[in-house]
């Protein structure tokens, strides 16, 4: 009677023992990956590592090593909370192995020692890294060292709702020719204001919906500064071009004054913004290439190309048409063993291969990181990716990698917001920005 239970537990014990023995012989490595600003279409920012881990494990098996990689993925949909969580986690020595974030974080994080240069672990001459566009690699470098591997590229166009453009007198041919006119500087931000006004006057859109900018802070607003002739950085030093910044602030104040943009536009709920631009409530707006994915996949704008035209950001007074690319980069966080970081670096390398990166590029409507990616079927067969790459990417600037850029940005933005909402006059806003930049950045910024 007692033999059976004893036998049972003995078998159980044997199984348990055997299973731990199996696990113990395999090398278990946990690689954690965090990503910021990742909505429902951006899952491959982290999911790419599942595929990469599978390939790396197989490679190890062929070499005769047993490697078992556990990928822990933590995508954040926003930026504020992500950056707060990551910075504080890193300070508490609990940083993930890999992070996908905006390239502008490289400056401060490198100074703080939160990240290690990827060039210490990755052979930059090896494929697929050698194939990545050199200007993107430039954007992920800081102090002459390559800190990150570009994760995606994008650029930020202006969008026009075609039916309304026709109503205010543009022919199909005119609309077709608009991107070229914008590029040459023949259609400017001034025309944007006028056309937005026309749309409202004709009753096509409600007041405040003629020009419908991004509803929150973003790199987008540096494009307007560039349009008005501003420069962000020169030879490693930040530049505050007072006249250009004033024209930028003035433009948004003018938009509000003309009634084509709402005074309280900033801070409106994001979901509402998306729904409105997808359903033709807005006449002209701006955004990023990835907006295509959201508009088509989530917001139900099935016939994008018949409804929407897209162009560069038009030129303003004293500047030229432009767009901004804000690549995310995979960075290696400090504070891990060399072994874990090496595996993380290998994973990044695999995740950057054209076919895997194309999954992200096409699903989220970002642009590819290498020429060979554009030859992947999935990518080349996508109308948006190919048109946007051709029309926008050659004109793209990027924000500088500078440890002090965040401070500059915060000050630039809050004064733009203040002049937009009328909390300050444009002159006061520019002067306040100048005063604060002088007192916080001192010699690190050129004010002209």
């Amino acid at each position: 009677m007692t033999v059976l239970p004893i036998l049972k537990s003995a078998t159980l014990a044997a199984i348990l023992f055997a299973s731990t023995a199996v696990f113990a012989s395999a090398k278990d490595v946990t690689i954690s990956v965090w990503s910021g600003g990742s909505g429902p279409n951006d899952n491959y920012r982290t999911d790419a590592f599942d595929i990469a881990a599978d390939i790396l494990e197989r490679e190890a098996a062929i070499r005769g090593e047993q490697l078992n990689i556990i990928v822990q993925k933590t995508p954040y949909s926003g930026w504020e909370d992500f950056k707060q969580a990551l910075t504080l986690a890193a300070e508490a020595k609990k940083a993930p192995n890999i992070v996908a974030t905006g390239h502008e974080d490289i400056g401060p994080w490198a100074q703080a020692g939160l990240i290690v240069p990827v060039e210490k672990f990755i052979d930059l001459d090896s494929w697929p890294i050698s194939d990545i566009y050199p200007n993107l690699m430039e954007i992920t470098s800081f102090n002459g060292a390559v800190y990150g591997i570009p994760q995606d590229a994008e650029s930020r166009p202006f969008f026009f709702w075609k039916p309304y453009m026709k109503e205010i007198g543009y022919s199909d041919a005119d609309i077709e020719a608009l991107p070229a006119k914008v590029e040459k500087g023949e259609y400017t931000l001034k025309n944007v204001l006028e056309d937005a006004k026309k749309m409202q006057d004709k009753g096509l859109v409600q007041a405040g919906y003629g020009f419908y900018p991004r509803n929150s802070n973003g790199p987008d607003y540096w494009q307007f500064y560039t349009s008005f002739g501003g420069v962000m950085e020169e030879e490693g030093k930040l530049v505050f071009d007072k006249a250009a910044m004033k024209r930028t602030y003035q433009y948004f104040a003018d938009l509000v004054k003309a009634g084509v943009t709402k005074k309280n536009h900033i801070g409106m709920p994001g979901d509402q913004w998306w729904k409105e631009v997808a359903t033709g409530k807005a006449g002209i707006w701006h955004g990023g290439t990835w907006h295509y994915a959201r508009l088509v996949n989530q917001e139900g704008l099935k016939d994008f190309f018949n409804n929407v035209q897209f162009t560069l950001i038009p030129a303003g007074e004293g500047g030229k048409s432009n767009t901004l690319t804000h690549p995310l980069a995979y960075l290696l966080m400090a504070g891990h063993t060399d072994e874990a970081t090496r595996i993380a670096a290998d994973l990044i390398k695999i995740a950057s291969e054209p076919r895997i990166n194309a999954l992200h590029a096409i699903k989220s409507a970002h642009l590819g990181i290498s020429p060979s990616e554009t030859k992947v079927d999935l990518y080349s067969a996508d109308r948006w990716a190919s048109e946007a790459t051709e029309r926008l990417l050659p004109h793209a600037n990027a924000m500088p990698n500078n440890a002090d850029f965040g401070k500059y940005w915060t000050i630039m933005w809050k004064n733009l917001e203040a002049s937009w909402t009328g909390a300050k006059t444009v002159d006061a806003a520019v002067n306040d920005a100048e005063t604060e930049l002088k007192s916080t950045l001192g010699a690190a910024i050129i004010i002209r």
Binding site: K83, G144, K263, F405
Partner: protein, 423 residues
């Protein structure tokens, strides 16, 4: 018996203030890190050194990889394939590479084909520049500079150390920034406005109104009213604020209701600074009023009924009762509520964060919220712990000063002195 209390006070009340004060005297930020820095020759550091020490700045500005005896010895000591060092010695001795990448290209082409890991190991051994190397201590940097042929005097070392240090330093700059920034002044005014209006209108006056009116109601009706006014307090704040948002959003109740009369849809919460303030004060006031109501109601309950009866016999009206019986005996609770609510309004920002996030255009940004945004949560991810702590410290000082003033105004000493009658 005083020891445990003293320890508690120290740990939970004084330590946070002391730590805040310590942080406030630094320039800690994301870029400098919290735990301390390293010494690193970066492009920025070289720019800083150019003016004072042009020779040094020029000499260390470029990366340099040199195949030399020292590196070969280190390579042999590593005991990876012997072929590497033999080939390097015979074919590459004395070669200089201006970048890591170029050095690694040569190493990679060695006949024994080192793996990427070995390439990195080998190239590190021949790195003969200090550029971008993080030295965990100052002497490490100085020793490396020495090896490169730069012998520095102690004063020069000091300059180099200051220019290359990546961590935080002690500074009083934060207070100057606070003092000089026009935005800080605006935020200070916002805070004063928000605290005084909410406090006067709701936390004290409205609470007093509720307490007195419910006092004159039948007990059961009174408890229903009190329970209703407690709802904002007991609803979780996220849900409570969300309900306000439903009320005020573009697609919210007010907007839909006004739409019936032909008014265009708009976001009433963020439409203008006035609207935002109106709702921010209501949201906070409704929560704050309940606390005052409870305190005042119980204080009124504690007034002997005989006093009300006597005053009624004397023909006092309700107003006269309030004026001469109730209010004089509520001085203590009013002091308490004023003082307590001032401090809690000064320090709390969660309702504002959840409703307007300080908008539109920073119109409803109050001091504590601005400190939070500065130190812990902003879009660019540039967390300025030092400046944020300095802002918090200002709040502590303001709180203490205000408390002292209140004690003075309400003549705290007479409130706690022994009644004359018992002498």
């Amino acid at each position: 018996m005083i020891a445990p209390a003293a320890i508690m006070i120290f740990l939970f009340f004084l330590m946070p203030v002391v730590l805040t004060a310590i942080f406030a005297m630094t320039n800690m930020s994301t870029a400098t890190g919290i735990s301390g820095g390293a010494w690193q020759v970066t492009q920025g550091a070289i720019n800083r050194l150019k003016a004072d020490m042009p020779d040094l700045a020029g000499g260390i500005a470029e990366p340099r990889f040199v195949i030399d005896e020292e590196g070969l010895a280190a390579l042999e000591a590593l005991k990876i394939k012997a072929g590497f060092s033999i080939e390097l010695r015979t074919s590459h001795m004395g070669e200089v590479f201006p970048s890591r990448r170029e050095a690694e290209r040569m190493i990679k082409a060695l006949k024994d084909r080192p793996s990427t890991r070995e390439v990195k190991q080998i190239s590190d051994l021949f790195n003969r520049s200090v550029l971008n190397t993080r030295f965990e201590n100052r002497d490490g940097l100085m020793a490396s500079l020495n090896k490169l042929g730069f012998t520095l005097t102690p004063a020069e070392q000091e300059t180099v150390a200051a220019a290359t240090y990546t961590g935080w330093v002690w500074t009083t700059e934060n207070f100057k920034i606070i003092g000089n920034s026009p935005d800080m002044a605006q935020i200070f005014l916002n805070t004063a406005f928000y605290v005084s209006v909410t406090l006067l209108l709701f936390n004290v006056s409205y609470a007093l109104f509720l307490a007195i009116t419910t006092h004159y109601m039948p007990a059961s009706t009174a408890s229903i009213f009190r329970a209703i006014w407690l709802l904002p307090r007991i609803t979780p704040v996220v849900i409570y604020v969300l309900m306000w948002k439903w009320l005020t959003w573009d697609s919210g109740f007010i907007s839909m209701f006004m739409g019936q009369f032909g008014y265009p849809v708009k976001n009433y919460l963020l439409d203008s600074a006035y609207n935002a303030w109106f709702f921010v004060i209501l949201i906070n006031g409704f929560i704050g009023a309940s606390m005052g109501m409870l305190v005042f109601s119980s204080a009124i309950k504690a007034i002997p009924q005989t006093q009300f009866h006597a005053s009624e016999v004397d023909g006092a009206s309700r107003w006269q009762q309030v004026r001469h019986v109730i209010l004089p005996q509520l001085r203590w609770p009013i002091l308490f509520v004023t003082c307590y609510q001032t401090l809690s309004l000064l320090a709390s920002f969660n309702e504002i964060l959840l409703s307007t996030r300080g908008g539109p255009g920073r119109a409803t940004e109050v001091w504590s919220l601005a400190a939070y945004h500065t130190a812990l949560n902003n879009y660019t991810g540039n967390l300025e712990y030092g400046l944020g702590a300095a802002m918090a410290l200002v709040l502590v000082v303001v709180g203490i000063v205000l408390s002292l003033i209140y004690l003075r105004i309400f003549r705290y000493d007479t409130l706690i002195s022994k009644p004359l009658i018992e002498d």
